[in-house]
Point group: C2
Chain length 134, copies 2
């Protein structure tokens, strides 16, 4: 039985990284661990780890990516919740068996080797959920 183990991160889509960091890092005092461009995602990502979970700020770096379109359509704000799972293939099979609509039918593999897949927000009451296997 695949098991959700923890909330891994909450993602926030931002228009202006510096302005966002002035809140998350400078005002709240959360340490900025790393910021990097992720060309595969056409984004810049700031990582602010916290115990058990972290906040990620994702800024589009092109104008025609999925994240840019999301931002243009909905404005900045909460974007998705990422849940760490111990067996992503098993979880996707379980979701398919329950007729849960998926964005990724099979896990994708990130540049760092981790596997991930997105559940369609239609299935979750409007929340974009990422499943993530370390």
């Amino acid at each position: 039985m695949p098991t959700i183990k923890a909330i891994n991160h909450v993602a926030v889509v931002v228009e202006d990284m510096d302005a966002s960091l002035s809140f998350w890092r400078d005002a709240l005092g959360i340490e900025l661990h790393e910021m990097r461009d992720v060309p595969a995602e056409q984004s810049r990502v700031a990582f602010l780890p916290l115990a058990g979970a972290e906040v990620e700020l994702v800024m589009p770096t092109t104008e025609d990516s999925g994240i840019a379109k999301y931002l243009a359509k909905r404005g900045p704000g909460m974007h998705h919740i990422c849940l760490e799972v111990d067996d992503i293939e098993g979880m996707l099979a379980q979701l398919r068996a329950k007729n849960i609509r998926l964005i990724n039918e099979e896990p994708r593999t990130g540049a760092d080797g981790r596997k991930y897949a997105f559940v369609h927000p239609q299935a979750s009451g409007g929340v974009l959920v990422e499943l993530y296997q370390l």
Copy 2:
């Protein structure tokens, strides 16, 4: 120095609690720890704890509450992120000193004695942030 210690939960506003539980509990397999009406918030809340953080499903139980208006205006989806802090008064003072707009200038106290306060989403790039002291 007040310190953000962890992400405590991610809140999701839902239109139909049963439909939402069929995703979070039944499809993903996260245990439903508790569901209760919170009259002070004019809401029903389902608690699904996870390591380090939890998902909360919040359904309005009246039509004129803040949460109902949010739902009517924006539809279901991500609502706020709650950050556990060790010194909420100190953090609010720190935020005020940085001209961060707050919804609650002073901490409010829940029925269970915990202190909480909301930061205005204007200050955080559209994310409603709750600060929470256990």
